[in-house]
């Protein structure tokens, strides 16, 4: 009985906060848009009994999903989201790995402080931090002023409201998610492995490629997924830092929902997004499990 209760708690949590909302979204995605409140049709009328139920299901169709294929805005948005997510994951890795490496190689008494510095930004609101980037990247912003003062440029660079700003924002925001798993993999590594590699004829660089990188592989994979998965659906960063040319599915979703008030199409977009995300999530889970088994 006790065991049952213990297992039931997380399941109830998942059912209430994930499965039920998902079923509602799925239902809306199969409905039609209506000028009413809520802005879709049909609604389930339980008082009509069995007949009400059958007519409710008869009204549901895949029209909205079909609509998504007719307008190329949607698949372009999906594709561009994947592209941006992929590119920014690679960039985050390139920035994050050296940081994680330096942290893991730092003197042990410094490590907690460095770790703290990585986590510290989370203590401030995410929105405020993105707004701060607007202040830095705008035409009259800190970065341009600095570059002008240094004489590196003659007129301000347009960074804000471009894809570059979006990349900067994403790399900045998700960097800790990349650093932490890589750091934890590197920190556990025995230094004598590198000495052994050198002893057996490796140069420093080849020891890094043949020993350090393979041993931090799980951290790299985990970090990449932790950046890639949320970035695909990212909305705040492209809408605040990106321009009209930045096409991301999160932004499209938001516009369908709040500007067009077309809840059914917005729901269909969300359902497809979820299906796209399921693949990397499964891969991520499998990597985690493999790692646990290897350590087991």
């Amino acid at each position: 009985m006790r065991r049952f209760v213990l297992i039931a708690v997380p399941y109830l949590w998942l059912v209430a906060l994930f499965l039920i909302p998902f079923v509602i979204v799925l239902k809306i995605s199969l409905s039609d848009v209506a000028l009413a409140r809520p802005p879709y049709f049909p609604q389930l009328d339980l008082s009509a009994g069995w007949e009400g139920l059958t007519s409710f299901f008869a009204e549901l169709d895949f029209e909205n999903f079909w609509f998504l294929t007719t307008d190329d805005l949607y698949w372009k948005a999906y594709l561009s989201s994947l592209q941006i997510a992929f590119a920014s994951t690679v960039m985050t890795l390139l920035v994050g790995y050296p940081i994680a490496y330096a942290m893991a190689r730092a003197a042990p008494e410094w490590r907690p402080t460095l770790l703290m510095l990585v986590i510290l930004p989370f203590w401030t609101s995410f929105l405020i931090r993105v707004y701060a980037w607007m202040g830095i990247l705008s035409n009259e912003g800190l970065l341009n002023q600095l570059l002008l003062w240094l004489g590196a440029i003659n007129e301000p660079l347009t960074i804000l409201n471009t894809n570059t700003a979006v990349y900067i924002g994403i790399v900045y925001t998700y960097l800790p998610f990349m650093i932490l798993p890589i750091y934890s993999a590197l920190e556990r590594m025995d230094d004598s492995l590198l000495e052994a590699a050198e002893d057996l004829g490796c140069s420093r660089l080849s020891a890094f490629w043949l020993v350090t990188v393979p041993l931090s592989k799980n951290g790299i994979i985990a970090g990449c997924f932790l950046v890639f998965i949320p970035t695909i659906g990212e909305f705040v960063i492209p809408s605040l830092l990106g321009g009209s040319g930045t096409l991301m599915i999160g932004k499209v979703l938001w516009e369908e929902f709040f500007s067009n008030r077309d809840w059914p199409v917005a729901s269909a977009v969300a359902v497809i997004l979820l299906l796209i995300l399921v693949i990397p999530i499964i891969l991520f889970q499998r990597n985690e499990q493999k790692q646990r088994e290897a350590e087991g």
Partner: protein, 374 residues
Amino acid sequence: MTQHVFAPWNDPGEKPLIQFRNVTKRFGDFTAIDDLTQDIFEKEFFALLGPSGCGKTTMMRMLAGFETPSSGQIFIAGQDMAKIPPNKRAVNMMFQSYALFPHLSVWDNIAFGLRREGKDKDTIAARVEEMLRLTRLSKFAKRKPHQISGGQRQRVALARSLAKAPKLLLLDEPLGALDKKLRQDTQFELMDIQEKTGTTFVIVTHDQEEAMTVASRVAVMDEGRIIQVATPAQIYEAPNSVYVADFIGDVNIISGRAKPTGDKVATQWAESQPDILGTTTTQFDAGQEIHFAIRPEKVAISTEEPQDAANKLQGKVLDIAYLGNISTYHVELPTGHVIKAQTANTRRLSRRQITWEDPVWISFTDTAGVLLER
């Protein structure tokens, strides 16, 4: 037929493989190696023995190239090693933690060094198979390090460090992680492999029994200096200092003043007690401070006064340590000194004649002990 004794260190014509020349190594204020000069010869099994912090690991790491001397020079096969990085040395090391690559199989671990040399596939495969056979690991070639036992891991580490056929193999506490039984078996295995491959081995250990078993010569170290280098038998029978005598095995030390009498030296150690007679080749001045060291197994114990013993002392049994095959009697002398005497238990325990509080005689010949200056 004369048996050939392996002792290149006694042959002035022999050229040493390794030469330490006035090597000093400092870490900040701490001096790990203090002006050390030592030769090690080809095919030797050389043991560096000492307590932790005595500098033995630093000496080994300097040979591997992980540390560079603060001053002095190290030569391997006549070549000054100062500017040569670890990956360019014909020296391989077996690490204390084994340092096996966890992401590679046993086979790939052993092949790791060979692949770096850029040898062709068949040569590598043949060499790896040979190493697997030598260390009896053929069955485990495909396993990952975490899927094999501690003893097998130790053999993989050995196979990996031997695969490149180094001139010199360094072993850092190679058997530290194994239990006693396995450790003893592995010691003989190590000696066997050393003999088969003809490689020079330098082993670092804090276990004196291990050093005595495997080594052709043992260097006893303390505070960055080598106190004595000799064969295991010499180290045990003829230590050059109280430190060495005390570090290797069990010993009774009696300190006193020297009184040369003819070809013997007597040690005056207590007013009410007879002087202890010993033989020595060293010259001692009368009245000089002297330490008489004698191993417990060379001290006889009896209830009756022994007749023709050069040295005999009377005391009382304080304690008996029964170890099965042998017993160690702690005999307290009237002066308060406690002398350990060891006898083999040739009789059953129930027929033991001596027990606690018994008045006994301990005796030893005048050649049983050694006289030490310091």
